[in-house]
């Protein structure tokens, strides 16, 4: 299978994925994935629906065990680490799940406050204040005492983002952050992700197939190909658009491009 690797700026490796094969029983989702996410990079994991992007994210945080290969954080193997070491690593990672994954028995402020109360020495009023601040940052001021079931899906996602940012983590992993958001909210979220990287220096990995987000925020990327069940391209998304001539990548990045659906042809 031909592959393409666009040149990308060499940053200090923060997350390294080496020869990762993901499988459920005998069904191989993706095989031989190897890529490096540099410190402070916004790294896009892209590919068609059902190719295993979210599954890859789950492997990065240990929610699924690889069939083969390893994931390294700061040069240390996460895959082979014991449960205590894994927990220590995870404390420095904030995750926004596809559905928001807010704890439904808690209000939004309690959701954001829970990690703050568990891992900081702040007093309860300070924790509450900081939780409200994080919620305000994602535009949820005034909704602090609402339960997840009382707000819309987009708002749940933003609250999930506030919770992911609660501990100012070194690494942020976002699973389809723009899905379900209107174009303006989606654009604001992109700006927020760029702000987070610039102000906190966080390393950010984003699973998405929203082209506008990919080109706006992505420094580096990997393309997972559903047909060959492996990665076939990597590099800056704009470089991939300009120089990668692999048909599957080109079609994806041009929304079908020249070979788009018949009804789009003149």
């Amino acid at each position: 299978m031909p592959t393409y690797a666009a040149p990308s700026p060499q940053r200090e490796p923060h997350i390294v994925v080496r020869n990762l094969t993901m499988a459920f029983g005998n069904f191989v989702v993706m095989r031989d994935l190897s890529f490096t996410i540099g410190r402070g990079d916004i790294f896009i994991i892209m590919g068609g629906s059902g190719c295993g992007k979210s599954t890859l994210l789950r492997h990065l945080i240990g929610l699924e065990e690889p069939a083969r290969g390893e994931v390294f954080y700061d040069g240390e193997s996460f895959t082979k680490a014991d449960a205590g070491t894994r927990r220590d690593v995870l404390r420095h990672i904030g995750v926004l799940f596809q559905s928001g994954a807010l704890w439904s028995s808690m209000t939004l402020s309690e959701n954001v406050a829970m990690p703050l109360a568990a891992y900081t020495d702040l007093s309860p009023p300070e924790v509450r204040e900081l939780a409200c601040l994080k919620l305000a940052l994602v535009g949820l001021k005034g909704f602090e005492d609402y339960y997840p079931s009382q707000i819309s899906g987009g708002m749940q996602k933003r609250a999930g983002l506030a919770r992911a940012m609660a501990l100012d983590p070194d690494i942020l992993l976002f699973d389809e952050p723009s899905a379900g958001l209107d174009p303006i909210s989606s654009r604001l979220l992109d700006d927020l992700i760029l702000d987070l990287r610039d102000s906190l220096g966080s390393t950010i990995a984003v699973v998405t197939h929203e082209l506008s987000s990919i080109f706006t925020i992505g420094d580096n990327s990997v393309f997972l190909d559903v047909e060959s069940r492996t990665m076939i391209a990597s590099g800056n998304p704009k470089d991939l658009l300009a120089h990668c001539d692999l048909p599957n990548v080109h079609r994806f990045l041009t929304r079908g491009g020249d070979e788009g659906s018949p009804e789009r042809k003149p």
Binding site: R58, L63, R87, Q98, S99, A101, S104, M114, A118
Partner: protein, 262 residues
């Protein structure tokens, strides 16, 4: 045929491994709790206690009263032939305190609370809430399973005691209404027939059944697939597993008590 037997054995062994892993993780969580290192939201625990206790009183009252009533009625039909109707009080008293109070409370709680635990945890799995706990470094067994088991262990003996009393009340209704016994006669015979050991055995069974129901509910919930139908299946499996465990354990305890002369 051979392949089917083989796959059935494999499934059974996988199921057992999951039970042992779950119980192992729970034991570690209980160990952390004993060293005051475990933590779970206090508000959630209070709600779980209320759900497994006060909110179950209505159905436990109805079922236990009727079971006491049925026991007394069936006993009365036979005992009347021998002019021994006063022994209905013995039958109901011993039957409720040793067996039926604990078993009926357990069956009600398996259908009510065990299924609710499986559905709650299954839904939390579907909505990735359990994944979110894990990625924040919180132990889901400690946060979700431990408080549920504690709540049920705390409430089951109390509900069992309440069920015993409701059953006795059902017996009194038959005794006074059908057998022309006075309340004082019935009560005196009950007090003479039922010993503290009988109540103790019933309460011990209730505690044990509480652990089994909570374990089955939480295990099936955490094993649930990631769809609405899978959550329904998990709730059904939780009830079936709980009831099988309750009956098997109760049978085993009956034999053990007989051998030990309790």
């Amino acid at each position: 045929m051979l392949a089917r037997v083989g796959s059935a054995v494999l499934r059974l062994s996988e199921g057992l491994v999951e039970w042992f892993r779950f119980i192992g993780e729970l034991t570690l969580a209980i160990g952390r709790m004993a060293r005051l290192r475990a933590s779970f939201p206090r508000a959630d625990f209070a709600y779980l206690v209320q759900q497994a206790g006060a909110e179950a009183l209505g159905i436990v009252t109805l079922v236990s009263f009727l079971v006491g009533l049925i026991l007394a009625f069936m006993g009365a039909l036979q005992l009347l032939r021998f002019g021994a109707s006063i022994y209905v009080a013995d039958l109901v008293g011993i039957g409720m305190s040793r067996e039926m109070g604990a078993v009926m409370t357990a069956v009600v709680m398996a259908g009510r609370t065990g299924a609710a635990y499986a559905a709650q945890l299954g839904t939390m799995k579907v909505t990735q809430e359990i994944d979110a706990l894990t990625t924040f470094g919180f132990n889901p067994i400690e946060y979700l399973v431990l408080p549920r088991i504690l709540a049920l262990c705390l409430m089951m003996p109390l509900l069992c005691l309440y069920s015993d009393l409701m059953g006795l009340f059902g017996g009194i209704v038959v005794g006074t209404g059908m057998l022309d016994l006075s309340i004082a006669q019935y009560w005196k015979e009950t007090v003479a027939a039922v010993h503290l050991t009988d109540f103790g055995l019933g309460l011990f069974k209730a505690l044990l059944f509480g652990v089994l129901i909570a374990l089955a509910g939480c295990l099936r919930g955490t094993q649930s697939g990631r769809s609405a139908s899978a959550v329904g299946d998990a709730a059904t499996e939780a009830v079936v597993t709980s009831i099988v465990l309750i009956i098997v354990t109760d049978g085993s305890l009956a034999v053990i008590c007989n051998v030990l002369g309790i």
